[in-house]
C-alpha cells in the first residue's frame, strides 16, 4: 500500500464516520459540527484530485457559509436543539433498507464496470487549471449561459430567502 492510499483510507474513514455522526447525533449543533468535519474531508479529496480551487471553494462555501448558516438557524430554533423526542421517524427501517440497497447496488455496478480500475490521466503540467476553469466559465463557447443562470438563481434565492424569513409585524 502506498502512502497516498493510506491517506485516502484515513480521510475516507474520518469523512464517513463524521457523516454517520451527523445522521445519528441527537444534538443539532453537534450534527452541524460533524457535518463540517465531513465537508473538510471532501475538501481533502478535491485536493488529492488536483482540484485545488474546488478544495478551497468547498471550505469557503460549505464550511464558511452553509454550515455556519445552519448553525445560525439551529440557534434561532433553539428549543429544538435539546429536544428529547425521537430522532428518527416511523419509516426508519425502510429508509435504512433503501439506503443499504442503494449502496450495495452502486458498489456492485462500480465493481462490475471495466473502467473502474483506471488510474489518473497525466496532467498537462503547463496548463493552469484555474485559468482554464475561469475562461471556461465566461467564454461564449464554454459555460457562460450556465454561469449566468447560476448567478440569477443565487440572486433569486437571496431575494426569496429574505422575503420568506422577513418577520412582518
Amino acid at each position: 500500500m502506498t502512502p497516498v492510499q493510506i491517506l485516502f483510507i484515513l480521510v475516507a474513514a474520518v469523512t464517513l464516520g463524521a457523516a454517520l455522526m451527523v445522521v445519528n447525533a441527537r444534538n443539532l449543533v453537534h450534527a452541524a459540527l460533524w457535518l463540517i468535519v465531513s465537508f473538510g474531508g471532501v475538501a481533502v479529496f478535491y485536493a488529492m484530485l488536483n482540484a485545488g480551487f474546488l478544495a478551497v471553494a468547498q471550505v469557503v462555501i460549505y464550511i464558511g457559509a452553509i454550515a455556519i448558516l445552519m448553525i445560525f438557524a439551529i440557534m434561532m430554533t433553539r428549543n429544538v436543539a435539546g429536544d428529547s423526542s425521537p430522532r428518527f421517524n416511523s419509516s426508519q427501517i425502510i429508509g435504512l433498507v433503501l439506503a443499504l440497497a442503494l449502496f450495495a447496488g452502486l458498489v456492485w455496478m462500480t465493481l462490475s464496470w471495466s473502467g473502474a480500475t483506471t488510474t489518473p490521466m497525466p496532467l498537462d503540467s503547463r496548463a493552469d487549471p484555474i485559468s482554464q476553469l475561469g475562461s471556461a466559465l465566461v467564454s461564449p463557447d464554454g459555460y457562460v449561459l450556465a454561469f449566468e443562470l447560476a448567478s440569477i438563481l443565487l440572486l433569486g434565492a437571496l431575494v426569496g430567502a429574505l422575503m420568506i424569513a422577513w418577520d412582518r409585524k
Partner: protein
C-alpha cells in the same frame, strides 16, 4: 543570492537523504520542521506583542505602560503568561466540554494557518498556493466558526449573544473584504500571494488605495477590534463569546487576537505594500523579513491607533455601514478598476498610477458625497419636532 533558509533546507535534506531515508519521508520531515520553527517563532513574537500592545496603548492614553520588570518592562509579558498559566482552569457546568476546549485552540490555529501563504522573503514561503487569496478567505471562515463554537458551548446567554453578533458581523464584513481582495488579484492576474508580491513594481496602495482601505476596515471587523468589538463588548454583553474562559484558555483567545492583528498587517503589507520588497533585497534576501515585519508592525500600529481613538459603533450602524456603504463601493471599485486597467494597457507607469489614483479618489469622494446627502436628510428627519405624549388632563370630579 545567499538565502539562509534555502541553504539550511538543502543541507538538512542532504543530511536526511544521507541517512538512507526515502525522498518522500525526507520531504515530510523537512516540512514538519519548517512548520514547527515558523509556529514557534510566531508564538514567541506573540508574547512580545503583548508588551507592544500595552506599551502603545499606554502612550495613546498618556501613560508610561509597563516599565518595572526588566528594561522598558520587557519581561512583563512573561509574567503575564505565568499569571495566566497558574490561574484556575474552569469548565462551566452544562458546557459542551469538547467543543468548549476546542474553540480557543482553533482560534489560535487559524491565525497561524494564515502565515502558510504569506511570503516572508524572496523564494521563501510556506506553500505557494495558486489559490492563496481564496485560502485566506477559507481560513477566515474557520476563525468565525471557532468563535461561534466558543459562544455556543459556554452555556451562557451573553456568550450566545456574542456568537449571534459574530455571525452578523463577520459574515457581513467578509463580503467587502473578498471584493477588495479581488482588486490586487485583478491587477496581478494571479491568486497566489507570492505572484502578487512579485508583480508589485509599484505598490498597489498607490494603484488601489480605496481597496486597501476597505480591506483594512473589514479586516478590523473580522478581528473584532474596536470600533467593531461588538462581539465582545464588555459594557453590553460583558465579554461576549469568551466570558466563561479562564486562565490559558482565555490566553489563547487573547494571543490569537493580537497575532491576528499583526497577521492582518503582514497580509496588508504583502498585498498592498510590496511584501518583502525594499532596497537591497535582491542582494541580501534576509532583509526581506525585516522589511515585511516593519510594514506589518506599521499597519499593526495603525490598527491600534484606530482601536484606541474610536468609540464602539452601534450594531445597526455597523451593519448598514457594511451593506449600504462598503459593499456597493467595493463593487463599483472592482468594476472601475477592471475597466481602467484594460483601457490603460500599454500606457506608461506614471500615467497608469495617476489615472488609477484619480479614479479611486473620485469614486471615494462621490460615495462620501452621497452618504453626506443621506446623512443630512436623516438628521433633518430625526430633528423634526415629534408629537409629544401628554398625560390626560385630570377630569375634575365634582364632589357631592
Amino acid at each position: 543570492m545567499s538565502d539562509p533558509v534555502t541553504i539550511i533546507a538543502n543541507w538538512l535534506e542532504g543530511l536526511l537523504l544521507g541517512w538512507g531515508l526515502s525522498p518522500l519521508l525526507a520531504t515530510i520531515i523537512l516540512n514538519a520542521i519548517g512548520i514547527l520553527v515558523m509556529a514557534a517563532l510566531l508564538l514567541v513574537l506573540d508574547i512580545f506583542l503583548v508588551w507592544v500592545e500595552r506599551k502603545v496603548v499606554a502612550r495613546f492614553q498618556d501613560r508610561l505602560g509597563p516599565n518595572r520588570l526588566g528594561p522598558y518592562g520587557l519581561i512583563q509579558p512573561i509574567a503575564d503568561v505565568l499569571k495566566l498559566l497558574i490561574k484556575e482552569d474552569i469548565t462551566p457546568r452544562g458546557a459542551d466540554r469538547l467543543v468548549y476546549n476546542l474553540a480557543p485552540i482553533l482560534t489560535l490555529a487559524t491565525v497561524l494557518l494564515l502565515w502558510a501563504v504569506i511570503p516572508i522573503m524572496p523564494n521563501v514561503v510556506g506553500t505557494d498556493l495558486n489559490v492563496g487569496i481564496l485560502y485566506l478567505v477559507a481560513v477566515g471562515a474557520i476563525a468565525t466558526l471557532a468563535i461561534i463554537m466558543a459562544g455556543w458551548s459556554s452555556n451562557n446567554k451573553y456568550a450566545l449573544l456574542g456568537a449571534f453578533r459574530t455571525v452578523a458581523q463577520m459574515i457581513s464584513y467578509e463580503v467587502p473584504m473578498v471584493i477588495a481582495l479581488l482588486i490586487p488579484v485583478l491587477l496581478a492576474r494571479s491568486m497566489g500571494v507570492s505572484d502578487i508580491v512579485y508583480s508589485q513594481e509599484v505598490w498597489y496602495i498607490l494603484v488601489a488605495p480605496a481597496a486597501a482601505l476597505i480591506f483594512l476596515i473589514s479586516s478590523i471587523a473580522e478581528i473584532g477590534r474596536a470600533p467593531f468589538d461588538l462581539v465582545e463588548a464588555e459594557s453590553e454583553i460583558v465579554a461576549g463569546f469568551h466570558i466563561e474562559y479562564t486562565g490559558m484558555k482565555f490566553g489563547l483567545f487573547y494571543a490569537g487576537e493580537l497575532l491576528h492583528a499583526l497577521t492582518i498587517g503582514a497580509l496588508f503589507a504583502a498585498l498592498f505594500l510590496g511584501g518583502w520588497s525594499g532596497p537591497g533585497v535582491q542582494a541580501v534576501p534576509v532583509l526581506g523579513v525585516f522589511y515585511l515585519l516593519i510594514k506589518a508592525f506599521f499597519i499593526y500600529w495603525v490598527i491600534m491607533w484606530i482601536k484606541y481613538s474610536l468609540p464602539r459603533i452601534r450594531i445597526d450602524h455597523m451593519l448598514s455601514f457594511n451593506w449600504k456603504f462598503l459593499t456597493p463601493l467595493a463593487l463599483v471599485l472592482l468594476l472601475a478598476t477592471a475597466i481602467a486597467d484594460k483601457a490603460l494597457e500599454g500606457s506608461t507607469t506614471v500615467v497608469y498610477i495617476l489615472v488609477m489614483l484619480g479614479l479611486n479618489i473620485v469614486l471615494v469622494l462621490g460615495a462620501l458625497a452621497l452618504v453626506r446627502g443621506y446623512a443630512s436628510k436623516e438628521r433633518q428627519r430625526v430633528g423634526e419636532p415629534k408629537p409629544v405624549a401628554r398625560p390626560p388632563q385630570p377630569t375634575v370630579i365634582e364632589q357631592s
